[in-house]
């Protein structure tokens, strides 16, 4: 072990991570509040009315960032699970536990706002034939499965590791959700924002969405770290 690698693992110990997590969580919570206010202001008052969908499109400022987070949090959760299985660190499993409820919440919000948005634009709350809706629903079940498995096992070590294996198996679903609108051309519209081309929407709409996405990021970090602190207090 060199000094470098020792430093790398310094915060892997729950005891040293506890105060750091508290500081980061406070900063992120404050940022989340500010960014949410800014994002909602831009979304509701600055962004123009959509030519085709009217005012109804404004739910995009919640829907799209929530859908991003629902997928991204699952990947992060699975990464922590893999790290935990590979390096056998308690903190990694605690992160897995802490992220699952937030991910499930965002998945639910994405589905909920999506169906509210679908009513005025598609004329229906729910379409069984749409692949993206289906895969997002499966993602919600995967989150529930991981949480249920963790909750069902009393023995801490087995609970952590079993949940981690299930989380990693479920990662298969993420690329399917992400590419579903390209692979199957059904009702759900294509991606609104892409890294490879200019955004296909007004600049202010884009700003509002990015602000809301940043706010959701900050919220997720704050909540997950707070939950990790609870886990540490509970188990140490």
């Amino acid at each position: 072990m060199t000094a470098e690698s020792l430093k790398w693992f310094w915060y892997a110990s729950p005891q040293t991570f506890f105060p750091l997590a508290g500081r980061i969580a406070r900063v992120c919570a404050a940022l989340a509040a500010i960014l949410t206010l800014a994002g909602l202001y831009v979304g509701f008052f600055v962004a123009p009315t959509d030519a085709q969908q009217g005012e109804a499109y404004r739910i995009i400022f919640i829907h799209v960032p929530a859908a991003w987070m629902s997928m991204f949090i699952y990947v992060v959760m699975a990464c922590w699970a893999a790290l935990g299985l590979a390096l056998n660190t308690r903190l990694s499993f605690m992160m897995t536990r802490a992220l699952a409820p937030t991910g499930a919440l965002f998945t639910f919000i994405a589905l909920w706002t999506g169906s509210l948005w679908g009513r005025p634009t598609w004329g229906t709350y729910w379409v069984w034939g749409d692949t993206r809706l289906m895969t997002e629903l499966i993602l919600l079940f995967l989150y529930f499965g991981v949480m249920a498995l963790q909750a069902a096992i009393d023995e801490r070590r087995r609970s952590d590791r079993a949940g981690a294996v299930l989380a990693i198996v479920g990662v298969v679903n993420i690329p399917i959700i992400y590419y579903s609108v390209q692979w199957w051309n059904t009702l759900h519209q294509g991606a609104s924002v892409s890294f490879t081309r200019a955004p296909s929407m007004a600049a202010t709409m884009f700003t509002g969405m990015i602000l809301m996405a940043a706010a959701f990021w900050m919220y997720s970090i704050a909540v997950a770290l707070t939950r990790v602190r609870c886990e540490i207090v509970e188990s140490e």
């Binding site: 299985l85 289906m134 499966i138 079940f141 995967l142 529930f144 499965g145 249920a148 498995l149 069902a152 096992i153 070590r157 087995r158 590791r161 079993a162 294996v165 299930l166 990693i168 198996v169 479920g170 679903n173 399917i176």
Partner: protein, 222 residues
């Protein structure tokens, strides 16, 4: 390695043969579920013809899932599983062999009886082949993927309900492709695409899932 496969499959089949009622129960469950739908939905022939592939596939899914609990439970209870894990044979291969034996006992009978159910639903005879082929390709995937859930919930209280929550979401692609292949064929189109994707799923699941199951078994037994 082949020796391991053969021994485990032979042993599990022998055990299933000695307890024939278990096999019959899963098959009867499949038939009963498939017979309940016309009673609940109504006997309108066109409607029944339309829902037949989906009903048969969902019944197959549930029946396969219900028998998953037996995949490792018996060996876990009498200590055989620990002996197998202490042995020299790679656990992934053992798990694959057990999943194959499970499919022979719980999946293959469904494939064989499905055309009979399709007959009850008045499905057009040319579709029997597609239905049986889709089940032949799809039900092994159910046994292989289900192994992960069975291993994770081994020895847990209320494991059966939890198992369904873990495994059913992972079954969805098989269900969509399997029932979809018959629907496409019923519409008069070629269902090769769906069947090839099912075959691809089978290959991928057979290559990777046994190792996840082995990891889960190690976690459950440590």
């Amino acid at each position: 390695m082949l020796e391991v496969l053969r021994t485990i499959v032979r042993r599990d089949l022998l055990l299933a043969l000695r307890r024939r009622s278990d096999v019959a129960t899963a098959l009867l469950f499949f038939i009963i579920v498939a017979s309940l739908f016309p009673l609940g939905i109504g006997a309108e022939p066109n409607q029944l013809r339309a829902i037949a592939p989906g009903v048969i596939w969902v019944a197959a899914l549930l029946s396969s899932m219900l028998s998953l609990g037996r995949l490792f439970a018996g060996d876990y209870a009498d200590g055989t599983l620990e002996q197998i894990m202490l042995g020299a044979a790679p656990l992934g291969v053992v798990v694959a062999a057990k999943a194959f034996a499970h499919w022979l006992v719980s999946g293959l009978p469904l494939v064989l009886i499905a055309p009979l159910i399709a007959l009850q639903y008045d499905v057009a005879p040319p579709l029997y082949g597609v239905l049986a082929l889709s089940l032949l390709l799809g039900t092994p995937v159910l046994s292989i993927i289900g192994g992960i859930g069975a291993a994770l919930t081994l020895g847990l209280r209320g494991g059966g309900v939890l198992l369904s929550l873990l495994v059913l979401p992972l079954y969805v692609p098989v269900l969509v492709l399997g029932a979809g292949s018959v629907d496409v064929a019923a519409a008069g189109l070629a269902s090769d695409g769906q069947l090839l994707l099912l075959a691809a799923l089978l290959v991928i699941a057979a290559a990777f899932a046994p190792w996840a199951t082995a990891a889960a078994l190690r976690i459950s037994l440590e």
